[in-house]
């Protein structure tokens, strides 16, 4: 197995928007400006930055949920940006996403069993009975029960919904999971449970994570490598311990200094 499971080279993405009087003008924002990242196999790469830094755009562009202007995304020897729709769909089985808002990302009219099994159905994996077995096993693994399959998302708490979101992504046994702020909508107590669950699942299923977050305390606990983004550019990247101990870039230093309660809680 190669050292890097996913590589993105020189990604750029520009958003154009109408502006000026009556929207006749145009202005453009470089959401990604020559961004290159490498995800080590079996490791977690955190992408941190503030709102507007381009970190969520990066996540979407990696999975080709959004087109890129230029650059390449290499996964198992293929450039995802050049694949046609059909081959992209088959690759997506290996590339899954866990979203921030477990309230908005689950269809309220579908039962949990169907939500979790949807990916298996789409990719035509196994018979109905086999799919059922897989769904039950996955739900059990994330701390839910077989009886929960018949329920609707609104019957669950925020933390449980995020467990459903994780089950939905992982039931396909992907290789890379992009987690876009998976715990930022949760209480601290629930946040810790979900982080630990993600870590355990990474070990068991040999997953590689891209973890998008603005919370540097969370990142410190989950990530191996880190990419700091600011205004569409990567300002610093490296191993977590190095960057936290010796941040080189002024922006990284600012971010680290702004962590609330540094002195007292960790004293």
């Amino acid at each position: 197995m190669s050292e890097y499971i996913l590589e993105a080279n020189h990604l750029t993405k520009t958003y154009t928007q109408r502006s000026g009087r009556f929207g006749f003008g145009k202005s453009s924002v470089k959401a990604l400006n020559d961004v290159s990242i490498k995800l080590r196999t079996g490791k977690t790469l955190a992408v941190v930055g503030e709102s507007g830094s381009g970190k969520s755009t990066l996540a979407r562009c990696l999975l080709q949920l959004q087109s890129i202007d230029s650059g390449e995304v290499i996964f198992s020897g293929k450039d995802l940006a050049k694949l046609d729709a059909e081959s992209l769909r088959s690759v997506r089985k290996d590339l899954q996403m866990v979203f921030q808002d477990p309230f908005a990302s689950l269809n309220p009219r579908m039962r949990v069993g169907d939500l979790v099994g949807e990916g298996l159905l789409i990719h035509g994996l196994g018979s109905a009975a086999e799919r059922q077995t897989k769904v039950v096993a996955m739900l059990n693994r994330v701390g839910l029960t077989e009886a929960d399959m018949q329920k609707y998302p609104h019957e669950f708490s925020g933390g449980q919904r995020q467990r459903i979101g994780i089950a939905r992504a992982l039931v396909l046994q992907p290789k890379v999971v992009v987690c876009d702020e998976p715990v930022s909508a949760l209480d601290v107590s629930i946040q810790a449970q979900i982080l630990l669950l993600l870590k355990e699942l990474q070990q068991e299923m040999a997953l590689s994570y891209i973890f998008i977050s603005h919370d540097l305390r969370v990142v410190r606990h989950i990530a191996d490598d880190i990419v700091v983004m600011h205004q569409g550019r990567v300002v610093e990247q490296g191993e977590v311990a190095d960057i936290y101990e010796q941040p080189q870039h002024a922006y990284t230093q600012n971010l680290l200094a702004a962590i609330p309660g540094k002195k007292v809680v960790n004293g």
Binding site: E50, S51, G158, D187, V188, S189, I190, Q191, A192, Q193, L195, L196, H214, D215, L216, R217, V218, R220, H221, V240, A241, Y244, N254, L255, L256, A257, A258, I259, P260, G261, K262, K263, V264, V265, N266, G267
Partner: protein, 297 residues
């Protein structure tokens, strides 16, 4: 109206045995026998998970409990220079309106939903100045400009609409609105949860400075112990509607007495990655409710 002479020893705000329940089922206590006090110039943080009753407690101080809820028992004593000590729970809606915004003000979590999108921010800051202090014309304009400068927004932004401001600037506008009439007590319900860390640090510093400069008491609601460490003087920890622990910041953070406080502290990740993250532990919960939660040690 119940009015007593001002007692200088009396704290600014005192909650005594406050219990809140739905009107339809008075025995289901959402807030159960909560007592604590806030002094002028000090910040008390109320910490807890969703559903712990921390926001309900704050709303009861403003007399803003929803129609479906009621204050079962307890007193909310507000100590004010002009009218002395009065129980907010007993005040009429008309009397409450004189206090709200003028003497007790509140900042909410989501600045976009609490600001009116079709009015300029200057107008929204001015509303309470006109209502409570009767300011008009040039005097009103000058005061709005001064307030904007005070919270770090250029005063020429008074004519801007909320959508033209960033998240941090909107929260600054909310703060300007809340301190417009120089309230004695400021209630902040998770005011920085929706903001970026660097902006959060700026807003916390601003609130802390204003508190000191105006000698306000502050009731600060949060679920983040990091924020508590930065801003609190005193801490109240709530769990399922009850206070499980209360004390000074140093006591609660460095020497927590209650198992729930210890469990909650253990699940906050630290910036150095030195401690192991622990999922929250409820093993200490008393069996078959024979013992009150607060009494567990």
């Amino acid at each position: 109206m119940m009015t007593n002479p001002v007692n200088t020893v009396q704290p600014l705000l005192q909650l005594q045995h406050v219990s809140i329940s739905p009107k339809k089922s008075p025995s289901r206590l959402l807030v159960n026998d909560v007592s604590f006090s806030i002094e002028a110039g000090k910040t008390t943080c109320v910490v807890g998970e969703s559903g712990s009753g921390k926001s309900l407690t704050a709303l009861s101080v403003m007399g803003l409990l929803s129609q479906q809820l009621q204050l079962n028992t307890g007193k909310v004593l507000f100590n004010d220079k002009e009218s002395g000590v009065q129980d907010i729970a007993l005040l009429s809606e008309k009397a409450l309106q004189k206090i709200r915004g003028a003497k007790i003000a509140m900042i909410f979590q989501e600045p976009m939903t609490s600001l009116n999108p079709v009015l300029t921010v200057g107008y929204q800051i001015g509303e309470s100045l006109t209502t409570h202090l009767g300011l008009k014309g040039e005097a009103l304009k000058a005061k709005i400009a001064a307030l904007l400068e005070m919270v770090g927004i250029p005063s020429n932004r008074a004519g801007s609409y909320p959508d033209e401001l960033s998240g941090g600037q909107r929260q600054r506008v909310m703060i300007a609105m809340s301190i417009a009439c120089e309230p004695r007590l400021l209630i902040a319900d998770e005011p920085t949860t929706a903001l970026d860390v660097t902006v959060q640090a700026q807003i916390l510093k601003l609130l802390d400075d204003l508190k000191t400069r105006m000698n306000m008491g502050m009731l600060f609601i949060t679920h983040d112990f990091g924020v508590v460490a930065d801003i609190a003087d005193n801490v109240v920890v709530m769990f399922r509607g009850e206070i499980v622990e209360a004390g000074s910041k140093a006591q609660v953070l460095t020497n927590p007495q209650h198992p729930y406080t210890r469990a909650l502290l253990a699940c906050v990740p630290d910036a150095e990655g030195k401690k192991d993250l622990k999922p929250i532990d409820y093993a200490w919960l008393p069996e078959n409710n024979t013992q009150s939660i607060g009494a567990v040690r």
